[in-house]
């Protein structure tokens, strides 16, 4: 029995998992970066934008946090061709992840921007800083540190939600697992292995984020998690 199992692992499972994990990483990384950028944009608009911009950003966040991610992916992949937008499964998944996680990121960014005391901005103005300088030297260094725990959680969610790309036929880790499992009927082994890879990703990301938070902490400006 054991050599048989090893053969299965060596010939079927391992190559599929490696292929799938590579696709998953290629889904997660751009979505994480673009999603964060999207969140910074929407979050700043919600806090500092003029009324129309603020209203648009609020609407964006309400819709993209309100719709289940799966529905959003289906809209991008199956719905958009009606409007003449034909996306590949990969593009639809990255677009869906980016816009959805951007909405969640914007919540943390907004909270972080609002938590910076007005006195800080007034003090910056008092010593003659321009608006841009204030943003660059006073607001952002503090806001990014405060938003990091929340945004970090969002990135970890993104790792897990990347599995939904399979539902729009983008064959990543879960999809590769499903293919191997349905052809060998070894569902338990395959999905346990797939789950383990995700656990590895999530645990790794948690460590990196913890390390980053620690490195970025400024003495006297600690942000206490509740």
């Amino acid at each position: 029995m054991i050599p048989d199992e090893l053969f299965f692992l060596y010939r079927d499972l391992a190559p599929a998992l490696i292929r799938g994990a590579a696709v998953s990483v290629r889904l997660i990384l751009p979505s994480a970066v673009l999603g964060f950028a999207c969140g910074v944009l929407a979050g700043s608009c919600r806090v500092y934008g003029f009324s129309l911009l603020r209203w648009a950003a609020e609407a964006y966040v309400a819709v993209f946090r309100g719709f289940p991610l799966l529905v959003q992916l289906y809209i991008w992949y199956f719905g958009m061709p009606r409007l003449g937008l034909y996306l590949t499964p990969y593009e639809a998944a990255v677009l869906g992840f980016t816009l959805c996680s951007g909405a969640y990121h914007s919540e943390y960014i907004r909270g972080a921007l609002l938590s910076i005391k007005r006195g800080q901005i007034l003090a910056a103005q008092a010593i003659g800083m321009s608006r841009l300088q204030t943003l660059r030297h006073i607001i952002l260094p503090q806001a990014v540190r405060r938003a990091l725990p929340g945004c970090g959680n969002e990135w970890i969610y993104l790792i897990k939600y990347s599995s939904l790309a399979y539902m729009v036929t983008c064959i990543e880790l879960t999809g590769e697992g499903k293919i191997v499992a349905s052809s060998t009927f070894k569902y338990t082994e395959v999905f346990a292995a797939v789950g383990f890879v995700y656990l590895l990703f999530v645990t790794l990301a948690t460590w990196i984020l913890k390390g980053l938070e620690k490195r970025l902490t400024l003495p006297g400006f600690e942000f206490h998690r509740v």
């Binding site: 309400a62 819709v63 309100g66 719709f67 289940p68 991610l69 799966l70 529905v71 959003q72 289906y74 809209i75 199956f78 719905g79 958009m80 061709p81 009606r82 409007l83 897990k160 939600y161 990347s162 599995s163 939904l164 399979y166 539902m167 879960t174 697992g177 499903k178 499992a181 569902y187 338990t188 082994e189 395959v190 999905f191 346990a192 797939v194 789950g195 995700y198 656990l199 999530v202 645990t203 509740v226």
Partner: protein, 220 residues
């Protein structure tokens, strides 16, 4: 505007999935609470080995994606154990186990935010540990946990759409049936999304009302 007749005919069918979705979510919340509550009490008051064990549970169910867990349990573990469970039951169990991991963290936070003096006072009037936890700590902690719980409801509601992958006939599955038969994907999925948004809004509102209703005067 050719989609209007399709919506007229298809949406009642999609909306009937609301009941399935709500039952899945309510079931998962209940399973999650009955797992999360003992886990939370265990992490706060339990011995070291129990805390380790609970950490392991939480790590696993928070780290593996829902879709993978659904496949693992529905096609793998339950049939392996000889259990022939319907997709609906598996969906409730899996969502419940995941929610249990998250709820244990919500409740842990709530238990820890009950002032320490409460426990000391309970012990001082001669209550046993269990009495103190059950009669003094938890009634306060559960009230504090309601806002976190309403977040959990919103998350579960949206995640419940994924159970469509097993064939649970909830909103998303029904939307997909209608869409793939009529090729009106865009309007159907947008309607489904709006329905989810509405359900989120109503549910969180109801929990906010509950939060206010069960508040005890003098305890903020």
């Amino acid at each position: 505007m050719d989609f209007i007749p399709v919506l007229k005919e298809g949406l009642p069918y999609v909306f009937k999935g609301t009941w399935v979705t709500l039952v899945v979510v309510a079931g998962a919340l209940a399973v999650g609470l009955s797992i999360g509550l003992p886990l939370a009490v265990g992490t706060v008051y339990g011995p070291r080995w129990l805390r380790r064990l609970i950490d392991l549970y939480v790590w696993f169910f928070r780290g593996v994606p829902l879709l993978v867990l659904l496949f693992l349990f529905y096609f793998g573990i339950f049939p392996f154990l000889g259990l022939d469970l319907s997709a609906f039951v598996v969906a409730v169990i899996v969502l419940g186990c995941i929610s249990g991991a998250y709820q244990s963290q919500i409740l842990r936070g709530a238990i820890l935010s009950v002032p320490e003096g409460q426990m000391k006072a309970a012990r001082a009037v001669g209550m046993s540990d269990l009495q103190a936890i059950g009669l003094i700590i938890l009634p306060q902690a559960l009230r504090l946990a309601i806002p976190g719980w309403s977040n959990e409801y919103a998350i579960l509601l949206k995640d419940s759409a994924v159970t469509y992958a097993l064939g649970v006939a909830e909103i998303m599955a029904r939307a997909h049936h209608v869409a793939s038969r009529t090729y009106q994907h865009l309007p159907i999925y947008i309607s489904a999304g709006v329905l989810f948004m509405g359900l989120t809004y109503v549910g969180t509102r109801l929990l906010a009302v509950l939060h206010k209703k069960v508040r005890i005067k003098g305890y903020a």
